[in-house]
């Protein structure tokens, strides 16, 4: 069974699953596996492994920065598959590859889906592929049992939410605010998120619902994800690495932040 679905089935009713986004190859290629394993130990339930792109137009400065560093470090799709394979030797944590379509297209969609599946990838999030353009990869993804997770935003219509639900498998990704990725002040991610997630709940009936964009603390997560199945943290995690790397104990600092995101201390 798909590791993502299994994870949600095992979730306690009140528990919020935590999905962590980390740019593959940031801050260096050798640390990626160790970071994923450390995140799992400290409360991560799902890993979104970012495939860096030179022109990440849905992302803010933080993820653009980590992407630029990772590209400088020489990351590419094959090394990302290697990271997944290495992780799979000791871990069954669900791993989703998240990234823009161009590097995937250039790699070859069929080859990408096959190699992703073989490496142990559990799903794909492609922020520049709305449901309308899913045809570019859906057939190959399905042939390799690789689910696609679509995004919905506060301005997404009910009809499109239903469509995203019917085409997604694993969960539906709720973008909590209009804007690019990046940690935000608490007030900015306002109560309207609750109303938005309620509307998602009415339309998304086949999949769990995860909410992301702007979460940077346990408190944010609990408030924003109160009526969701879990939450996603990306930019705040990259910021935490950026603030501590390459101090001697940078990984411990980052893991301690991860622990606090999930457990509040």
């Amino acid at each position: 069974m798909n590791r993502i679905i299994e994870k949600f089935q095992k979730k306690a009713p009140e528990e919020k699953l935590m999905s962590l986004f980390i740019t593959a190859g940031y801050p260096d290629i050798n640390s990626s596996v160790e970071l994923i394993l450390g995140f799992e130990k400290n409360g991560a339930d799902i890993i979104e492994l970012g495939m860096p792109f030179s022109d990440p137009l849905a992302d803010g400065p933080t993820i653009q920065y980590s992407s630029d560093v990772a590209i400088e470090n020489g990351i590419n799709i094959d090394t990302i598959f290697d990271i997944v394979k290495e992780t799979r030797k000791t871990s069954q944590i669900p791993i989703i590859l998240m990234g823009y379509m161009n590097p995937v297209l250039h790699y070859g969609v069929a080859k990408f889906c096959k190699n992703a599946r073989n490496a142990g990838v559990d799903g794909l999030i492609l922020p520049d592929i709305p449901v309308d353009e899913g045809g570019i990869i859906e057939r190959e993804a399905e042939a390799n049992s690789l689910p696609i997770i679509y995004l919905v935003a506060p301005n997404t219509t009910d009809v499109r939410m239903k469509l995203a639900d019917s085409k997604s498998e694993g969960f539906v990704y709720c973008v909590s605010v209009t804007g690019v990725t990046g940690a935000r002040d608490g007030d900015e991610v306002s109560d309207s998120v609750t109303r938005f997630i309620d509307r998602v709940r009415q339309n998304v009936i086949n999949n769990p619902v995860m909410v992301g964009f702007g979460i940077k603390s346990y408190e944010d997560a609990q408030r924003i994800a109160s009526n969701a199945d879990g939450f996603i943290v990306g930019s705040a995690l990259i910021d935490s690495i950026r603030n501590s790397y390459p101090e001697k104990d940078w990984k411990d600092q980052v893991f301690s932040f991860v622990h606090s995101l999930k457990f509040g201390n």
Binding site: L57, A58, I77, Y100
Partner: protein
């Protein structure tokens, strides 16, 4: 003259020109793009909208622009007659204003209060700032830090007209990065903001809409050449960066297969130098800024930095319709180097008393290759897309 015509109907309802185009954007932008598509569909068949657009083109932009017979340039090559479609005579000095006016009218119709734009050479930024001043709308223009230095005059023009020019420091600090920032702004302020894209790029409906706002160039040319020569031309020539002036010029002629149509890209230091902007010549299909089209990209699918002496052609992508026309062979695309473009600036300045924009000069440079193949009874029309005043600093440095 026997006329061969093939019905040309692009894009399809999903915004595809053959295999190219589409809407590869974050979900957040889908409602905005849908609204734009719906509103444009209504507007384009609305006589009132069209009358308003045409009136502004007439009394504000200064259309129709002239078709000038280049007698000395013709004599210089001693072959086909050369005509110039004078988009350099448009208000603000380039064709870009046609599209800016069209999109501003749409923005007003949609009740948007804030306008954003990206700019490379600054011509689209200036055109947008101009239209915003005319219509009293807030205007923010994203421009690469490097381009702001190269095109300081245009930065000053925009500022003078009340626009805020935001310097983009990421990536190559040129048009590609300015476009990323403009899209990010749009994603964040999608409710009240209208994004005026300056070329036939971006997600559907932009490539189609921008083309349609510029097709006045080709339509006028058709009428004018019939008046001047009583027949259709044999060759059309235009420069291609994103490709807006070229497509506006070519589009009304595409169905007439007797006309040879040529687009000229910027080769930079040479198409194989690694420092080029010749996307169709050197690129491969990929996705950037919302559409599938030819791109300059690395072997791992990262977008490569383009290079051209001309800021307006310094872009690693190209409009999806050009990719389609390239694949079908209806339009032939070639490239000329920075140096060849500079020689063309000098030649046109001395022979005709017209200083062309560096972008435009690329089309003129191709005459060196094209003219020997032509005959004295043939006609070549070049789209003189912009004037060169904005480039004087670069031109002086390269004389």
């Amino acid at each position: 003259m026997n006329e061969t015509t093939t019905k040309y109907q692009q894009p399809n309802t999903r915004g595809y020109f053959g295999d190219y185009g589409g809407k590869f954007v974050p979900e957040i932008l889908i409602p905005a793009i849908k609204d734009l598509e719906d509103e444009y569909e209504k507007a384009k068949d609305d006589p009132e909208f069209n009358a308003q657009f045409e009136q502004l083109l007439d009394e504000y932009v200064g259309r129709p622009t002239k078709l000038t017979f280049a007698n000395k340039l013709t004599k210089h090559y001693g072959k086909a007659k050369i005509y110039l479609k004078r988009e350099d005579l448009c208000h603000t000095g380039a064709h870009k204003i046609n599209n800016a006016i069209g999109q501003i009218l749409l923005a007003k119709r949609m009740g948007k209060t804030r306008i954003i734009a990206e700019t490379g050479a600054g011509q689209h930024g200036v055109a947008t700032a101009t239209a915003c001043a005319k219509f009293g709308l807030e205007c923010v223009v994203y421009m690469g830090a490097e381009d702001m230095v190269r095109q300081k005059l245009n930065v000053d023009r925009m500022t003078l007209m009340g626009a805020e020019v935001r310097s983009v420091e990421s990536g190559s600090k040129t048009l590609k990065d300015a476009t990323n920032e403009a899209i990010r702004d749009w994603v964040t302020n999608v409710e009240d903001t209208f994004y005026i894209i300056g070329s036939v790029v971006g997600p559907h409906p932009y490539p189609m809409m921008v083309r349609n706002f510029h097709q006045v160039i080709g339509k006028e040319t058709k009428k004018q050449i019939l008046e001047a020569e009583g027949r259709m031309p044999d060759y059309l020539l235009a420069c291609v960066g994103g490709g807006s002036n070229a497509i506006g010029f070519f589009y009304p002629f595409l169905e007439d297969e007797n006309i040879k149509i040529i687009g000229i890209e910027a080769a930079g230091y040479g198409v194989d130098s690694g420092q080029t902007a010749a996307t169709l010549t050197k690129g491969t299909p990929g996705i950037l800024h919302g559409s599938l089209s030819y791109l300059l990209q690395s072997e791992t699918g990262q977008i490569e930095l383009a290079h051209s002496i001309s800021a307006g052609l310094d872009y690693p992508g190209v409009g999806p319709e050009h990719s389609y026309l390239h694949d079908t062979g209806r339009v032939k695309y070639n490239a000329v180097t920075d140096q060849e473009a500079m020689e063309a600036v000098k030649l046109l300045s001395r022979k005709e008393g017209i200083i062309p924009a560096l972008e435009t000069a690329h089309a003129f440079a191709w005459l060196e290759k094209l003219m020997p193949e032509t005959t004295e009874d043939e006609i070549v029309i070049i789209n003189l897309s912009g004037r060169g005043d904005k480039d004087m600093k670069t031109i002086s440095e390269n004389l």
